[in-house]
């Protein structure tokens, strides 16, 4: 799928300071029966967002109108567990374009990069300062510059460089995806297959 281009994002944030949030929490398995990629945002963090009887749980951050924005500020080890890409679709479909944490699970990181959701790793102390700041002043913005790989907390001016695989960076900046790339090198793949058979 051609993806949205990601260049610069300046936005307020939604804080979710829990550690080890796994993909079963992000999108519970019972919502995986769909056969398209759209609409998962409605069930993002379903079991935290709604009570058993289906009412909105007012304690949960997504139901708190003080917090909104395109950046999810998560806790350590975000996205662990199941490889379901539906977790990333749900976060993206809800409207987030970047997730910040001090540590991401591997598959989640890959899935995010493949779907135009930018995972940004920042130092743990900066992450906890940012969580505090957002809770005190929900209007606080962050500024993400993908080309220059910088993440800035606007009110304090604190800025850090984040890393991203150069290939994935090109893809995100250009809104391209991996399949476009693979289809373009099909001859090489075929010659690999032929050589392998001869060995």
């Amino acid at each position: 799928m051609p993806k949205e281009k990601f260049t610069i994002l300046e936005s307020t944030c939604v804080p979710l300071p829990l550690e080890n949030v796994d993909t079963d929490q992000i999108i519970p398995a019972r919502f995986l029966s769909a056969t398209s990629r759209e609409g998962f945002g409605d069930n993002l963090f379903r079991d935290w967002r709604y009570t058993k009887s289906g009412e909105k749980n007012s304690d949960f951050v997504l139901n708190n109108s003080r917090f909104e924005g395109k950046v999810l500020v998560a806790g350590k080890n975000f996205g662990s567990g199941s490889s379901r890409e539906h977790a990333v679709w749900a976060i993206f479909d809800y409207g987030f374009r970047a997730v910040v944490s001090s540590f991401f699970a591997d598959i989640f990181m890959n899935n995010s990069l493949n779907n135009g959701l930018l995972p940004i790793v920042i130092p743990a102390d900066l992450l906890s300062n940012l969580q505090d700041l957002i809770r005190k002043d929900p209007g606080s913005k962050v500024h993400i510059d993908l080309a220059n790989q910088t993440f800035t907390i606007v009110p304090t001016g604190e800025s850090v460089a984040f890393s991203i695989n150069p290939y994935k960076k090109e893809c995100m900046l250009g809104g391209l995806d991996d399949i476009d790339f693979l289809l373009a090198i099909k001859d090489q793949i075929i010659s690999y297959e032929e050589n392998k058979k001869r060995v």
Binding site: M1, L18, E19, N20, D22, D24, Q25, P28, A29, R30, L32, S33, A34, T35, S36, R37, D47, K52, G75, K76, N77, S80, G81, S82, S83, R84, E85, H86, V88, F103, A105, D106, I107, N110, N111, N114, N115, N165, P166, Y167, K168, D177, D178, I179, F181, L182, L183, I185, K186, Q188, I189, Y192, E193, K196
Partner: protein
């Protein structure tokens, strides 16, 4: 206790390097590698969007013969011959059949005589072979590493990539070796070994690494038990786990009636014998554990790293910290437990034996060993779910089904079942389940369910007593 060591020999290669390097089609400058994929498994839940993607691009499946499909995640475990009642599940299973027939992919679907959980049937059918690269849109693809393969879970976008071009774009992982010295004691299974390692290094302890398991304890394990180890390597954050093939592996493969693409199994085995880590090859990290430190394990929290010996008390805080964090307390609170509490004797409502972690014939034999001549506790509901039709057949052939029935258990039909509870096999709100699966996340086995992961032996002891019990007392 873990000890770390370090040694280097620049020419020597690890097993992971050998397999990876021989599958690189092209390296992208400063970026990942284009990795050729030998075997691709698909199932009903993570494939439909990938097939949609192909359709939107107007392309076909590049190498349909390298992909094998099964229906497992979202199927009922009773009355499989009847139409699936849940409309969404039925739709997914139907879509899988349609996509497979449209693109010429071999399907071991519902009611096929060799249907089963993807990570159980792949090895059974000889589709998983040493030295291969294997992927599937399911994180427990790491299971296949037990055969000396690089096997790992991928997302749906990557499923589409493999269908489109038989390759994925991946950076190489760092390398870790985990050695388990000595032999485990009575009642200690491979499930306990891996749960112990995860509890020692935490669920993020191997993130970014591909792990090779070695040492006497690993070498002594059967293929089934090795699959359990590699299966759960993902639960410590690893990209995957691998065990070098040896005579145990080769004997397992020799017993498979026919293997696609292999005419002379002995010639193939001669080639596979080179698949091991060279002496002195460098790992980015090495950990060594002693099998004698390991006891039957159980989890008390909501991630697989929150595990302890079944006879221990729940710790006061997470590893390496003196004070319990809010996440730690939230987790115990969900479980209805308190720091310092002992779990022995705690009532159990459900027992689940099955999944790609412990749904193989050996697991059902182990469970049968304890329940034979005993009765299921009245307060326990048991879900006994073979990992595949072949496992079910073997259970019948060995007389295990009679043992289960005599003890008051009902044996279900194969599938993922309660492992992720997409079907009707849900653990109700607030109920306690001892489960042989791999994940104890909040709500994993149904909204509000409370999962305690354990081996088939510990599950059997719980099924008979209705309480958390030490399986060593029943052996």
């Amino acid at each position: 206790m873990a000890t770390e060591k370090n040694h280097t020999n620049l020419e020597a290669k690890t097993l992971y390097d050998k397999i990876w390097d021989s599958h690189v089609v092209r390296s992208i400058a400063g970026g990942p590698d284009v990795l050729y994929i030998d075997r691709h498994y698909i199932h009903e839940v993570t494939s439909p969007q990938a097939f949609n993607g192909l359709k939107e691009r107007g392309i076909s499946v590049f190498r349909p013969g390298n992909t094998l499909a099964t229906a497992d995640h979202n199927i009922p475990t009773r009355d499989q011959h009847l139409p699936i009642r849940d409309e969404l599940s039925r739709n997914q299973v139907t879509r899988l059949s349609e996509n497979c027939s449209k693109y010429g992919i071999e399907l071991f679907g519902l009611n096929h005589s060799k249907n089963g959980i993807v990570h159980v049937i792949g090895p059974e059918l000889g589709f998983t072979l040493p030295g291969m690269t294997i992927v599937c849109g399911d994180s427990h693809t790491s299971t296949h590493g037990a055969f000396g393969t690089i096997a790992f879970g991928i997302g749906t976008s990557e499923v589409e990539m493999v269908l489109a071009a038989q390759c994925i774009i991946q950076p190489k992982s760092k390398k870790m070796r985990i050695s388990i010295n000595g032999l485990p004691g009575k009642g200690v299974t491979s499930k306990d070994i891996i749960m112990y390692v995860i509890s020692e290094i935490t669920t993020g302890g191997a993130t970014g690494y591909f792990v090779e398991f070695s040492g006497q304890a690993i070498r002594s394990l059967s293929m089934e038990a090795r699959m359990t180890i590699c299966n759960m390597s993902i639960e410590m954050g690893a990209r995957g786990g691998v065990i070098a093939p040896d005579e145990t592996t080769f004997n397992y493969l020799r017993k498979i009636p026919s293997i696609r693409g292999i005419d002379d199994i002995e010639a193939a085995i001669d080639k596979w014998k080179t698949l091991s880590t060279d002496e002195g090859a460098k790992f980015d990290r090495e950990l060594v554990f002693e099998a004698s430190d390991i006891n039957p394990m159980i989890t008390y929290g909501t991630n697989p790293g929150m595990g302890m010996s079944v006879d221990e008390a729940i710790p006061m805080a997470e590893k390496n910290s003196s004070e319990a964090s809010p996440s730690f307390l939230k987790s115990l609170n969900y479980m209805g437990f308190k720091p310092g509490m002992s779990l022995l004797g705690h009532p159990v409502d459900y027992v689940f034996i099955g999944s790609c972690t412990n749904g193989r014939i050996e697991d059902f034999r182990a469970f049968a060993g304890i329940i034979k001549g005993r009765k299921k506790s009245d307060n326990v509901t048991a879900l006994i779910v073979p990992g595949s039709k072949l496992v079910e057949e073997q259970m019948a052939a060995e007389g295990l089904i009679e043992i289960y029935t005599a003890a008051g258990f009902e044996v279900r039909q194969p599938g993922c079942s309660s492992c992720l509870a997409m079907n009707e096999d849900k653990i109700p709100q607030g109920k306690y389940a001892v489960s042989t699966s791999n994940r104890n996340f909040e709500g994993r086995q149904g909204p509000g369910s409370r999962t305690m992961l354990a081996s088939p032996l510990t599950a059997a002891a719980a099924a008979i007593t209705g309480r958390i019990s030490d399986p060593r007392e029943f052996l």
